[in-house]
């Protein structure tokens, strides 16, 4: 706890420089990693971001243009293999698979955004509030109650929640999204709580307290910006899980309903032709995998950028 210097100069704009601020960190041994994560373009992040951009582009283009109308049935051209007219082939009703993949990306992203949005907007404040109570001598039990409730929620898999929702309401994209979102709340709450505890232990929060800042102000001014990185990482990982969950639910008939195109529904419909036309399962499968991979890699890359442990540990 003595003068070690360079505790956490985050995000060096220019780590090696005659500017003593930055040079202090670089002179102290262990900053090699900080330079790597801070400066070098991170491969997993580039690949991840590329895949995510691809999926988003597919979805956006599908609003403006698709090769065919998604629900145009063409019995003459059913179950075709890939060709110039239908690059990914056609399904049992003669619908163009490429068109379906493009339009299906919309649902995938919608579910991801809504589910992650629900989890983030509910889970993060819960985590922060819980951590704030944990720091008060009289509030430890409130923190315990919140976190144990959180653990209980964590015990429910997204699929189970979705089945319950589908049983109570009618199966559909909406209930599926909400179910997946609720199931992702505990993750955000935990990340936000641990991040908040970390930030609350720092000297700049002590300084803020010593200068009479009230706790809600500290939470907004100091805690939120400093845990934003962790929460963004969590969001990208949760996004990948949501994509997978949506596909699974639609596959089981609990998610997106006909006639809306969705990758999960494509998989389901391709089942009976698996032995004769495996490519019908292949294309939605590939895109689900790409989307999940993309968001996961993006999450990894972002973690390397944001995680304080991976960053400038100067001393």
């Amino acid at each position: 706890m003595k003068p070690t210097g360079a505790q956490s100069p985050r995000d060096h704009a220019d780590p090696v420089d005659l500017n003593p601020a930055a040079a202090t960190a670089s002179a102290n041994g262990g900053s090699a990693r900080s330079r790597k994560s801070g400066r070098r373009v991170n491969a997993s992040m580039v690949i991840g971001a590329g895949l995510v951009v691809l999926i988003v582009a597919l979805a956006l283009v599908s609003f403006v243009w698709t090769p065919y109308d998604a629900n145009a049935i063409d019995p003459a051209a059913r179950l075709q293999n890939g060709s110039l007219a239908h690059p990914f082939g056609t399904d049992t009703f003669g619908r163009d698979t490429l068109t379906w993949v493009m339009v299906g990306a919309r649902i995938t992203l919608l579910v991801g955004v809504v589910a992650v949005g629900i989890a983030l907007l509910i889970g993060t404040p819960i985590g922060i509030i819980s951590a704030l109570f944990a720091k008060q001598p009289w509030g430890i039990w409130i923190d315990s109650v919140i976190m144990r409730a959180n653990d209980i929620l964590l015990a429910f898999p997204a699929l189970l929640l979705a089945i319950i929702f589908a049983a109570v309401y009618s199966p559909g994209t909406g209930p599926a999204m909400v179910a997946v979102g609720i199931a992702a709340i505990p993750g955000f709450a935990r990340v936000a709580r641990s991040g908040t505890l970390q930030v609350l232990g720092t000297e700049y929060v002590r300084a803020a307290r010593a200068s009479n800042r009230r706790i809600p102000a500290i939470a907004v001014v100091h805690v939120l910006p400093n845990i934003a990185g962790m929460v963004i990482v969590q969001a990208s990982v949760a996004f990948a899980i949501s994509v997978l969950a949506e596909a699974g639910l639609s596959f089981l008939g609990l998610g997106t309903q006909a006639p809306t195109p969705s990758w999960g529904r494509m998989l389901q419909e391709s089942q009976q032709y698996l032995s004769t036309h495996p490519e019908l399962a292949l294309w939605p499968g590939v895109f689900i995998a790409l989307a999940v991979l993309g968001f996961n890699l993006l999450g990894d890359g972002l973690r390397d950028r944001f995680d304080p442990k991976m960053e400038a540990r100067g001393a």
Partner: protein, 582 residues
């Protein structure tokens, strides 16, 4: 070049992606058994130089030049990792700055020492345990037989640094590199550690490259000194030459600013700037007289004005801060509530501070200084006892009273890197206490501007983020934040202990100026007696949660009553004494 143990020629290091080298044509040599001090402030490139000898440079730095080590032909900069790995510990070893993080927390220390021996295979396996014990004994580890089985967390910082030294010397290297090995230690521990390093190095007849920013430390341990500044070697010479007749102006400035006994006409410490202007010859005199210099002896005694002022302003009226019989006990919390052992951080503290006084609180880490500060500032509550600040009873204060307290009492924290929110602009950081006090935007901006100017930063800084500033600048920002609400009491918690010597002088002068200007009552907590002596009119010496001695600073220094105080004073490295002894 067989005659020299280490030979560095024209070493230039450039970070990837830039054209500006961080190290320019550094050349140095070190003969067998020679002890060389490498001095410079943070960012001067001294650690980079050492790392390039060890082959530990980060990959994205481009190096040019030659590094030769006796017993290895060819340029070390081009050597393969396997070659380097074989040499480390066998030929050249290193002790790092931070003993808390340099040891593996999950391994017994005996195993960590044995690991080095095993890897290099110089010692037969059967003899390793004996050798480990010998090594621990050589670094004066208490009870070397059982110390082997201890984990790092069971040891103090000084003990861990001893273990690091034992590891570094395990394979009898010919060159030992110490990178600020004592910066993180208390003064008393530092003294012992330095003696130990000197002793061990001469025992095993190794060369020593000692990196530090503290001149006094180097004077005691090294034969020769190399001064680095901004990636260049500016001066080389024997300890006597450098300290009595420095040639380069930077060296002169460094000497001036590390001498806490010498002050200029205004009673301020010399900084790099003022040293260039005023003090070359006077410093020579100061250093060569080889005894503590009376403040301002060459400027008609005006320099001691500060101290007199401080003492004079201790008035008869009721004290501003009154601490009586304060204790603070931390409950040990065992697993499932079992095994509770209480830790008494403060055991019955009594003292009073008058308005305008400057009180130094001195003690080693663990003496309860920080706990006391937390209680004074209402961040923590005493277990028993009373604390009064002005008319506020702190131990029983409502949250409103605490708010009033904090408007009067502000803190500057120790670690300039941790005490500023990395995601906030300087303007927002400094304005934060004002926002809390509910002051409107226009006035806020004006006050922030005023404070930023008062701490000698330009208005441009307001738009920038903390990581763009150096340690000293960040401490200025911290001071600006603390003073922006115009408090009556300023509490400085080890405010300068993380700073370079040259920067330390500047920040101390700034503190002195501001304390005068705003008529502040100052509580200055430090483990560095030199700093306290310069700054404070009264001093309290703390040990293990108790006040062992208190009184006027000059009395305590001239005539310490307690053994502990004496040992603290003796352990504080001072240029003059180190030179006299060497």
């Amino acid at each position: 070049m067989p005659e020299n143990l280490l030979e560095v020629r024209d070493l230039t290091i450039t970070p990837a992606g830039t054209q500006t080298p961080v190290l320019h044509d550094v050349s140095l040599s070190l003969a067998s058994g020679e002890r060389v001090g490498l001095i410079g402030e943070s960012g001067s490139g001294k650690s980079l130089t050492a790392q390039s000898v060890m082959g530990l440079l980060p990959e994205e730095l481009h190096t040019r030049g030659r590094v030769h080590l006796q017993g290895h032909s060819g340029n070390l900069l081009d050597a393969k990792e396997t070659t380097l790995a074989g040499m480390r510990s066998d030929i050249v070893s290193m002790v790092f700055q931070e003993p808390m993080s340099a040891l593996n927390p999950l391994m017994r220390i005996g195993d960590q020492i044995a690991e080095v021996l095993r890897i290099h295979g110089k010692v037969p396996r059967a003899q390793i345990p004996t050798r480990v014990r010998d090594l621990l004994r050589d670094v004066h580890m208490p009870d070397p037989d059982s110390a082997r089985f201890a984990y790092p967390h069971q040891m103090s910082g000084g003990q861990r640094q001893r273990v690091m030294l034992a590891i570094a010397l395990a394979n009898s290297p010919r060159l030992l590199i110490c990178d600020e090995p004592t910066t993180a230690l208390d003064v008393t521990v530092q003294k012992r550690m330095l003696d130990l390093i000197a002793e061990r190095v001469s025992d095993v007849e190794a060369g020593l490259l000692f990196i530090t920013h503290d001149l006094a430390v180097v004077a005691g341990i090294c034969d020769r000194v190399i001064v680095m500044y901004r990636g260049r070697i500016v001066e080389t010479g024997s300890v006597d030459e450098i300290f009595t007749a420095p040639q380069h102006e930077y060296t002169r400035g460094l000497l001036a600013s590390s001498d806490l006994d010498a002050t200029d006409e205004r009673g301020r410490l010399f900084t790099l700037k003022t040293a260039l202007a005023y003090s070359g010859p006077r410093l020579d005199k100061a250093a060569s007289s080889a005894e503590p210099v009376e403040p301002g002896d060459s400027v008609d005694g005006t320099a001691s004005v500060t101290d007199d002022d401080g003492t004079a302003s201790v008035r008869e009226s009721a004290p501003l801060i009154d601490v009586s019989d304060v204790t603070r006990v931390f409950r040990g919390r065992g697993l499932f509530g079992r095994r509770r052992s209480d830790v008494t951080a403060l055991g019955g503290i009594d003292f009073a501070v008058s308005t305008g006084a400057r009180l130094g609180i001195v003690g080693e880490s663990g003496s309860g200084k920080s706990t006391l500060l937390n209680i004074l500032s209402g961040l923590d509550r005493p277990t028993t006892g009373h604390v009064r600040v002005g008319d506020i009873r702190v131990e029983a204060a409502s949250s409103q009273a605490l708010r009033r307290l904090r408007e009067r009492l502000q803190i500057v924290f120790q670690d300039p890197f941790a005490s500023l929110d990395p995601r906030m602009r300087i303007a927002d950081i400094v304005a934060e206490p004002l926002i809390a006090a509910g002051i409107d935007k226009d006035e806020r901006d004006a006050r922030v501007m005023e404070m930023i100017t008062a701490v000698d930063l330009d208005a441009d800084s307001l738009r920038r983020y903390p990581h763009q500033f150096s340690g000293g600048q960040r401490q200025r920002i911290s001071i600006a934040r603390a003073l922006v609400t115009k408090p009556q009491i300023l509490v400085a918690d080890e405010t300068v202990s993380a700073l370079d010597v040259s920067v330390r002088a500047q920040v101390l002068n700034l503190l002195t100026d501001l304390v005068d200007e705003y008529a502040l009552t100052l509580l200055f907590v430090s483990h560095d007696l030199g700093v306290v002596k310069h700054l404070c009119s009264d001093v309290i010496v703390m040990k293990a949660g108790q006040i062992v001695e208190s009184g006027a600073t000059e009395d305590i220094y001239a005539n310490p009553q307690e053994e502990y105080t004496r040992s603290l004073i003796a352990a504080t490295p001072s240029l003059a004494e180190a030179l006299a002894a060497g």
